[in-house]
Amino acid sequence: MAGTGGSDEFVVFDQVQKSYDGETLVVKNLNLSIAQGEFLTMLGPSGSGKTTCLMMLAGFETSTHGEIRLAGKPINNIPPHKRGIGMVFQNYALFPHMTVAENLAFPLQVRKMTKAVTRDKVSKALDMVQMGEFGDRRPSQLSGGQQQRVALARALVFEPQLVLMDEPLGALDKQLREHMQYEIKHIHERLGVTVVYVTHDQSEALTMSDRIAVFDDGVIQQLAPPAVLYEKPENAFVASFIGENNKLRANIDSISNGVASVTIDSGDKVQALAVNCGDTGNTMLSIRPERVLLSADAPNRLDGKVLELIYLGDHIRCRMAVAGHDEFIVKVPNSSDHAALNVGESCPIGWVTEDCRALDAA
């Protein structure tokens, strides 16, 4: 999906570094290309440098080193108001003393558009977010979700090529957040605008993005489409940050044909896909809870003991003691199988070798 309908290098971070105090780097040597029309999410825990990157792109922070290019032109020295980048802020940043329509008209007025054009564009933008009837309201008279739609419409009304979103759904409740995720995604698909989206919510990132850049410690840990990120994490940080993950420490015995034979700390010998583990030494085995098999004849068999069962409707979450770990989670689909599980009982587990990834021992 990346790069459809335009240059693959619409936005480029070229060796960008950022430091606030001259002692530590918040962003360490960032290289990133974003294609035109792409929906790219910067995902990471707070303090990982993702918002700083967004602010540098918007022009509110200056990079300490490196170049940021937009449509081929370096924009380091262009002030924010000349960059023509739409931005949606975490707390919407709607102007409280203006009505919704005036808020939307603002970017058009500063661009000296005629009144007729302005009115036309404002009403079209409001219709796009289904807020056509609310033009005369003040932002304070709207609910959080409605304010969010207005903020979105305002960032799009002057037809920018690039829209930045800084945790725009952070203040909404869960249900509304999920609804808005789809809505933003659909608007993106319809307009073909390039979106750079910052969030710390992985499910949001997985739902909306073409590609996700996982940030940690000022470095992009992995840049990949959502499915790849989830199925094939390249290191232990990504594996544990995206989705739920069982971790087992192990020592590598040998590697052949991309399959690592390892010894777990408990002494059991199993096999896993060698991804990012080197040839010898320690490794971290990573396996998703839903890929664990509860069956005596599964490969890579280990002994487990059921510690806790939590009924979650569509599946049952089973906490087990496996190879000395008390936090080994297995998701069991809610089918007739689960009747076999009882707290305190032993149960053999296993996995298909491809589902278990041997990663760096972070």
């Binding site: 918007a58 108001h81 000349k82 707390n91 940043a93 102007f95 500063v110 305002r154």
Partner: protein
Amino acid sequence: MTDVSYQPDTTRGSLTDASGALLAADGTPLKKKLRQALAVSRRRAFLLVAPLLLFILASFAIPILLLLVQGVKDNTFSSIMPETTSVLREWDSNSEPTEEMAAAVVMDLISAKEISRSLPTKVGTRVNREVSGAISLFKKTTRKAPKMEAPFLAELYKVDKKWKDPAYWKAMKIASKTITPAYYAAAVDKKYLADGSFADQPEDRQIYVSLFVKTILVSGGVMLACVLLGFPVAYLLSHLPARQANLLMILVLLPFWTSLLVRTTAWIAMLQSAGVLNDIFVWIGITSDDQRFSLIYNMTGTIIAMTHILLPFMILPIYSVMKAIPPSHVRAAKSLGATNWTAFWRVYFPATIPGIGAGGLLVFILAIGYYITPALVGGQDGQLISNFIAYHMQKSLNWSLAAALGGILLILVLILYWLYDKIVGIDNMKLG
């Protein structure tokens, strides 16, 4: 799973009485029940504020009420001269004084003198406010009154020819009214006449209207100066890192921690013709030694000192409002294409208006009643209305006129308050 089944309540649904009003479970109306439930907490809240309420009533509300009454009520004459008062009420204030009026004056003066020697003088002072020369006339008449015999009118003419002048009788008629608009009229440079009409004061005695105008202009000027000087400071305060902001805040608050008198006298040291500022002007050659600026004991001094003293009242509300403006608003404006100036003027500045309004109203109302500073540094033409109120309270002892002037000041402030509410809205005001 243990089977604790839930019994649906068949009597569920709210009870209502015949008129459809909701009833509580025991059958009393729900509204009454709610009042009862809240009564205790309301009583407790009232008890908590009661001491302050009593204090405000005793030291603020009642004095203001008395002041307003004092401005229209004056029973000096009518209480000391009851006979004269009732006779004068019948007089049409144009015809010749009658024997009956003269007799009443003589009788009243005799009985007043018997109670206290100072009473006739009080009457004289009161009448003297309407026409000069009345004090000596009443003193003289009182002295001779006990020996007078009818016809009293002729006796009065014998004592002093002034009694032939209808002006004195008219003045007595004005003074005899207990509820009188005379003081409010005087406070706006009008004269209340014996026949109940109003006339302009002679031109050389018209001082109060122009003084009110001057007071309002000075207060407005001080307010404007405070906005112009305070806004940038408040902006700096709200945008500096915490450490520097705290230091700056201390500098802003420093005037609050110094006595008003010390500050005002410090300005005298700064501004007088041999003062620091003039020395500097001479030294850098802005003016010559024999042409030093007169910066004090005039309007300039009043405005400079008042602006300095009232500045914190402007800075603090603006600061607290600015502190609450999210930085993302200006950023949003810039990202939408606004230049720095447009972002400031169309997004940031409107958000500060509640603070400017609050500070402006505060400074204006404080300035309009400012007394000590104009008295100390104002000289002759830097005096404001409050200095004249003080003068009438302390020197001329014309408390009723002082009350009338104060009453008009109060009305002016209320009008401004109302205007502010109409234009900006009191709800929009933020003091911190």
